[in-house]
């Protein structure tokens, strides 16, 4: 039952030939690590162009092998459904006690080798470019504070300079040019469809829908207003329509949904994330980045202009387009805070 190495002759490399360079990122909570290293250039691709990457390992090695950068994202696999049944038939081959006290004990375990029980999932990018390396390198996250003045001076100009091409896909969806068959519901103000990240064949707890405003006028939650001509009606309709859709299609109740808006969002065309309430530990639901639709509605009902008056605090990665401007501005805010103490 021990699986053999990949020997498909059409596939150009094997992981055992990977030379480790450095760690780009890791997340112990998710049991994952991303590393940069090199793999040998497949003989079919060897040419004089790649000779600059050649590494001679010493005089004893007669053949120099050209190598190119490769990124490996290695993640522990989730347990397959067969795993728990296997507990009675010895899938845990051996254990080593770490500690025990009273009725509690902790141990490490080694599993049986099984065809249907891989240890890891490996994503490979090969050859990897500088752009890939930057993208997968851990970004220092800076918590920044956006006062209304900083919104006007830094964020709003950034949003207005955003190339229209970045939200062309939204306009295509709204215009019915793409994903028309996936749309679950459409009104004059918004439409609701499954998020691209959701695999509907997964458990219902992975449910992930998206509500997209039809018009482009709301760029972010900073533009939302209460009052008679404001957006509360639309926001409440998005919420009630989402409840109706998940009740009809999936038999879920109102209490099974968590709906939120990102600030900063990844694109500046108003949208609401609609996920199953039992999703836990998902990125993008973190306080500071995510704002509950219910909270937004409640705040706008109390004070119609509150979202233009509040100070927002959120994390920015070093590669984010706002990082430079906002990081510089924080230093000045810090000085003024210290001055007022």
């Amino acid at each position: 039952m021990h699986p053999t190495s990949l020997t498909d002759s059409t596939f150009p490399y094997e992981i055992k030939d990977f030379n480790f360079g450095r760690i780009l990122d890791e997340n112990p909570n998710f049991h994952s690590v991303i590393v940069l290293g090199t793999l040998p250039v497949p003989s079919s691709l060897q040419s004089s162009e790649t000779s600059s990457s050649k590494e001679a390992s010493g005089p004893s090695e007669s053949v120099a092998v050209a190598r190119l950068p490769a990124i490996l994202r290695i993640e522990r696999t989730a347990f397959p459904p067969s795993f728990t049944d296997g507990l009675s038939s010895g899938v845990v081959a051996s254990t080593r006690l770490i500690e025990h006290t009273d009725i509690y004990s902790w141990m490490h375990g080694w599993l049986e080798r099984k065809e249907d029980l891989p240890d890891v999932k490996i994503n490979v990018i090969f050859p990897a470019t500088e752009v890939h390396i930057r993208k997968y390198t851990k970004q220092e996250l800076l918590m920044v504070t956006e006062t209304p003045e900083l919104y006007d001076g830094v964020v709003k100009p950034y949003i207005e300079a955003f190339p229209a091409s970045r939200t062309q896909w939204v306009r295509d969806v709204v215009d019915g040019k793409s994903e028309a068959e996936r749309i679950l519901c459409r009104t004059s103000d918004f439409l609701i469809l499954p998020d691209m990240k959701w695999d509907p064949s997964g458990p219902i707890s992975s449910l992930y829908l998206l509500a997209l405003a039809c018009g482009p006028s709301i760029r972010s939650l900073r533009d939302l207003r209460g009052g008679k001509r404001g957006h509360v009606g639309m926001l409440e309709e998005i919420r009630e329509t989402a409840y109706e859709i998940v009740a009809e299609r999936w038999g879920l109740g109102r209490g099974n949904l968590r709906m939120y808006v990102h600030y900063q969002p990844s694109y500046y065309h108003f949208h609401v994330h609609i996920v199953h309430a039992s999703q836990a530990g998902m990125m993008g639901m973190t306080v500071g980045q995510a704002h509950l639709l219910d909270d937004i509605i409640s705040m706008l009902k109390l004070s119609p202009t509150v979202l233009s008056e509040l100070t927002f605090t959120y994390g920015l990665g070093a590669q984010h387009g706002l990082y430079g401007g906002m990081a510089a501005a924080q230093a000045e805010l810090d000085v003024s805070w210290k001055g007022t103490r």
Copy 2:
């Protein structure tokens, strides 16, 4: 190098004797599963008292073995530091391609058996009681909406009925009777100390501090007020003091901290969670449950009584003391919402 089974004669059971019953909970994001089953009663504990749990497996088995309930929490292990170095020397023993396209490929991998590379960590509770089983069983999470009226009618009475013994540990800390040596800073209003969940020997990104109010008058964020005699001064001082502590002790900047308050909290004595901004995917940071300290300050500055006027939305597990009352109240809210549409 293959680790052998646990044979410490003082330890009363082996995982290979576990009989699987059912899954209590699982979380694919965290690669963990919690199962209920049985383990044989150690011979040292066998007595007539346990005979009621005896299982006769058939006439051919001459010795009936008494068994008792056991809970196993099995989690994939994080990669040890040695793992990434090992990538160059073949720790990935074999692979199987899932798919490949252009420069991207995905595969499953099987790792070498190594003493220092366990596959799983197993927490065992044995014998487990009904209370343990309930505690580890997945709780249906219901998103509930708490209007100011529901706070007054359901939540406030619940908080006021909370036994004082539940927050005795807080008073002991505040009075200096416990954890005195761990306190990082104390003012007349609050103190800051490492959270019990934090292991300071881990990476600095796991930093987790706690700010505890000294007085018992603020039970939750619902009690926070702005204005001259309000709490903004104390909240700002908590924030600035936390910045100073992490700068002095760990060389971290202001942008490296995320501070938040839970609603509902697990105990009704005001406290602020202070964690490293790069913590990702940690439970307890989810929007709806967590509220940024910065947001709270900003809201109170705009409107001193806003936290008693807002409607809050959050998830409640079926075992939570507020579940019954809040779940019943939601049905009435739903009716009134539908009526106003």
